[in-house]
C-alpha cells in the first residue's frame, strides 16, 4: 500500500453535527493544531459546502470563518484548503469568492447518477487553475459499473481525482472493494473514498478502499461528522502505523485534534445508535438525522417511519424539504381512520 493522502473534512462534514456552528476561533485553533500534526489537505465550510447556508438546510452561524481561513492559508503556504461544491447549491460567484479566500481545492460533488451537472463547474474552476476533484455522493444507490461511467464523465471534464462517497454509510467492505476495482479498470485519475459510520463500518470500508487501490481517504477528527459520523482520523492513523504504513502524521498530535473536538462539542459527538443503523440500512443521507428528529416531533410521527418512507422514495441529499413533506403526509395518513 502506498502512503495514502488523508483529506481532513472535520471542519466541513462536522458542520452537520453542530448545525453549521463552527466559529472562526475554533477553525483557527483547529487549523493550527492540524497543520502541526502534519495535515496538508483540509476542508472547511457549511456541511453541504458552498452555497449550503440556508433555512432549508441550516444557516452557517459564523460568516467570519472565511476571513480566518484566508489568513491561515497566507501563513501555511503548503496547506491546501478545500471546499465541497454541489451544483444546485453553489454558483460560479461562490467559486470566485472561495478562490479569493485562499481556497485551492474544489471538490465538485453531485448525486451518483448526475455527473453531467458538474461539467460547467469543473471547467469553471479548472480554467482558473484550481485543483479540481470529482465526487459522487450516495454511491450505494447504483451498481459499480454505472458509478464508473459517471465517474468517467467527471474525469473527461477535467477532474484530477475521483472520490466516491458513502453518504448514507450503507456500503459494506466487499461493496467498497468491488466499486474500487471497477473504478480502477475505467479511470486513469487517482481514487479516493469517503466513509460514514452508520453501520459501524467506516474503518473497515476505508481500509478495504485503500487495500483495493484507492489512495486517498476522507477522515474527521474523532469521526466528527454527519449522522453517525465519518472515518475517525486518529483510529485510521493508528491502524495504519501499526501495520507499518507511515502516514507522515504525528499520532500524538492527531489524537490531540480529536481531543480538541471532544472538548468543544461534547453534546454532538458522533454516536452509532438505532436511528443511524436505520438510515444506513435504508440508505438515507446521514446529514438528515437532526431534521428527521425535528420533523418527527413537529408532526408527532415516528422517526423510524420517516426514515423508511424516505428510503423507499429514494430521497437524495439536498431534499431536506421532503423530510417535512413526508412527515406531514404520515401525520395526515395517521389521522385518517
Amino acid at each position: 500500500m502506498t502512503i495514502p493522502l488523508i483529506y481532513d473534512v472535520t471542519l466541513r462534514d462536522g458542520s452537520h453535527a453542530n448545525q453549521h456552528s463552527f466559529t472562526a476561533k475554533f477553525c483557527a485553533d483547529y487549523i493550527d493544531t492540524a497543520y502541526a500534526a502534519g495535515i496538508r489537505y483540509l476542508e472547511v465550510g457549511h456541511g453541504n459546502g458552498l452555497g449550503g447556508s440556508s433555512l432549508h438546510i441550516g444557516r452557517l452561524k459564523d460568516p467570519d470563518l472565511w476571513a480566518t481561513v484566508a489568513e491561515k492559508t497566507s501563513i501555511y503556504k503548503d496547506l491546501r484548503l478545500g471546499v465541497h461544491v454541489i451544483p444546485g447549491l453553489a454558483t460560479f460567484e461562490d467559486i470566485d469568492l472561495a478562490i479569493s479566500n485562499g481556497v485551492s481545492v474544489f471538490r465538485m460533488a453531485c448525486h451518483c447518477t448526475e455527473a453531467d451537472t458538474t461539467e460547467t463547474y469543473i471547467e469553471y474552476a479548472t480554467r482558473r487553475d484550481q485543483e479540481v476533484w470529482g465526487l459522487l455522493m450516495m454511491a450505494h444507490m447504483v451498481k459499480p459499473d454505472h458509478l464508473a461511467r459517471e465517474a468517467k464523465k467527471m474525469e473527461s471534464y477535467g477532474a484530477s481525482r475521483f472520490v466516491f462517497l458513502d453518504s448514507a454509510g450503507a456500503l459494506t467492505p466487499s461493496m467498497v472493494r468491488c466499486i474500487t476495482e471497477e473504478l480502477r479498470t475505467v479511470l486513469e485519475v487517482p481514487l479516493g473514498f469517503h466513509a460514514h459510520n452508520n453501520l459501524h463500518s467506516a474503518i473497515a470500508n476505508s481500509l478495504a478502499a485503500l487495500a483495493a487501490g484507492c489512495n486517498s481517504v476522507d477522515a474527521c477528527a474523532g469521526g466528527y461528522g454527519a449522522g453517525a459520523g465519518n472515518l475517525s482520523l486518529e483510529a485510521l492513523v493508528a491502524l495504519l502505523e501499526k501495520d507499518g504504513i507511515s502516514t507522515g502524521l504525528d499520532i500524538r498530535k492527531i489524537t490531540g485534534l480529536a481531543a480538541l473536538v471532544e472538548h468543544h462539542f461534547p453534546s454532538s459527538l458522533p454516536k452509532v445508535d438505532s436511528l443511524s443503523a436505520a438510515t444506513g440500512f435504508h440508505g438515507v443521507f446521514s446529514g438528515f438525522k437532526p431534521k428527521i428528529l425535528d420533523a418527527a416531533a413537529a408532526f408527532q410521527v415516528d422517526a423510524m417511519d420517516i426514515i423508511e418512507a424516505l428510503g423507499k422514495a429514494q430521497v437524495i441529499a439536498g431534499q431536506e424539504d421532503q423530510i417535512i413533506a413526508t412527515a406531514a403526509q404520515l401525520a395526515k395518513e395517521a389521522k385518517q381512520p
Binding site: L55, P87, H111, E119, T120, Y124, Q314, G318, Q319
Partner: protein, 286 residues
C-alpha cells in the same frame, strides 16, 4: 374579423422546444412556422417534422433565411447562445421570448407582471423554479410587505432535465434569484435546485421558505397563497400546494407540486410544463 395568425419560430429542439411546439399547435391563433436545431437527425427535429412543421438544422441562421420572417422567436437554446440570437432578432424586428436564464430580457411571471412586459422586445421566462415559486412569493410578500429574505428549493426529476438544463445550473440560480428579488422587491433571495433520479420520476416540487418572524399572520398568508395558486392554475393546470404553510422552529415552509400536462414528456415533467405554459400565456397576449 379574425386576428391574423401569430407566426412563431421555435429555436432549439430539446425538451422545452418540443413541448412548446405541441402547446403552440394546440393553441388558437398561433402558427409554428419553423423549428430550428443544430443536428439534422436529432430526436426533436424529427418530432417536429412528423408534426408537419418546417425544420432547419442551421439554428437561428436557418430560421432567418426564409423570406417571410416569424413575428416571434422562442429561444430554447442556452444562456450562452441567447445574446447572439437576441441581436439577430433585434436586427430583423422579431420579438423574442427567452426560455433561457440569460437575464437580458424583461423577467416575466404572468400572474404577477404580464401586462408590464408586453411592450418589451425581449421577454425572459426566468426558469421553471422561478415560474413555480414567484406566485407563492408574491402572495407572501403581499401579506408581509416588509419581508426581506426568501428561499426557493426546487426538485425536478432527472428524466426531465435535458443537457441544456444541466449546463446552465449556475445561471439558473442567479437568474431566478435576481428575478424574484427585482420583481418582488425582496433584498435577499436564495435559490436551490435538486435533480433526482428516483423512480418512478417525481413530479416537480418547489418549496418556499421564510423566516417565521417575518410573517405577521400565518392564516392571511395561507389564504393568499391558495388564491394565487388558483389564479396560476388557470394557465398551469397541474399547479397545487402540496404542503400548507407551516412553522417549523424559526422558519416557515410551504410547497407546491407541479404536474405536467403530458404534451411531450409525461406528467412528472411539471418543470417543463410550467415555464412553457407561462410562455404560451405571454405569446397569446402579444
Amino acid at each position: 374579423m379574425n386576428e391574423p395568425m401569430k407566426r412563431v419560430a421555435i429555436l432549439g429542439s430539446g425538451n422545452i422546444g418540443c413541448d412548446l411546439l405541441v402547446k403552440c399547435q394546440e393553441a388558437e391563433g398561433i402558427e409554428v412556422v419553423s423549428v430550428a436545431g443544430r443536428h439534422a437527425h436529432s430526436k426533436g427535429l424529427e418530432f417536429a417534422a412528423r408534426r408537419g412543421v418546417p425544420t432547419t438544422d442551421r439554428s437561428i441562421e436557418g430560421v432567418l433565411e426564409d423570406a417571410e420572417k416569424p413575428d416571434i422567436l422562442i429561444d430554447c437554446t442556452s444562456a450562452a447562445h441567447h445574446p447572439h440570437n437576441y441581436d439577430l432578432c433585434r436586427q430583423h424586428g422579431i420579438l423574442i421570448v427567452d426560455m433561457t436564464p440569460a437575464k437580458l430580457g424583461v423577467a416575466c411571471c404572468p400572474v404577477v407582471n404580464l401586462d408590464l412586459c408586453l411592450e418589451a422586445d425581449n421577454i425572459n421566462m426566468i426558469s421553471c423554479g422561478g415560474q413555480a415559486s414567484i406566485p407563492i412569493c408574491f402572495a407572501i410578500k403581499q401579506a408581509n410587505p416588509h419581508i426581506q429574505y426568501i428561499e426557493v428549493v426546487s426538485t425536478i426529476s432527472s428524466a426531465s432535465a435535458g443537457p441544456g438544463t444541466r449546463k446552465n445550473i449556475s445561471e439558473y440560480i442567479t437568474a431566478t434569484q435576481k428575478a424574484i428579488s427585482n420583481m418582488l422587491d425582496i433584498n435577499e433571495v436564495k435559490v436551490i435546485i435538486n435533480i433526482t433520479p428516483a423512480m418512478p420520476p417525481i413530479h416537480m416540487k418547489t418549496s418556499i421558505l421564510v423566516n417565521a418572524e417575518d410573517v405577521a399572520c400565518e392564516v392571511d398568508a395561507r389564504i393568499r397563497i391558495e388564491a394565487v395558486a388558483a389564479t396560476t392554475r388557470a394557465y398551469v393546470p397541474g399547479y397545487h400546494t402540496s404542503v400548507e404553510l407551516k412553522q417549523l422552529g424559526s422558519k416557515m415552509m410551504c410547497q407546491v407540486q407541479v404536474s405536467g400536462s403530458g404534451h411531450y414528456l409525461p406528467a412528472y415533467a411539471g418543470n417543463l410544463d410550467i415555464i412553457n405554459c407561462a410562455a404560451l400565456e405571454v405569446i397569446q397576449r402579444l
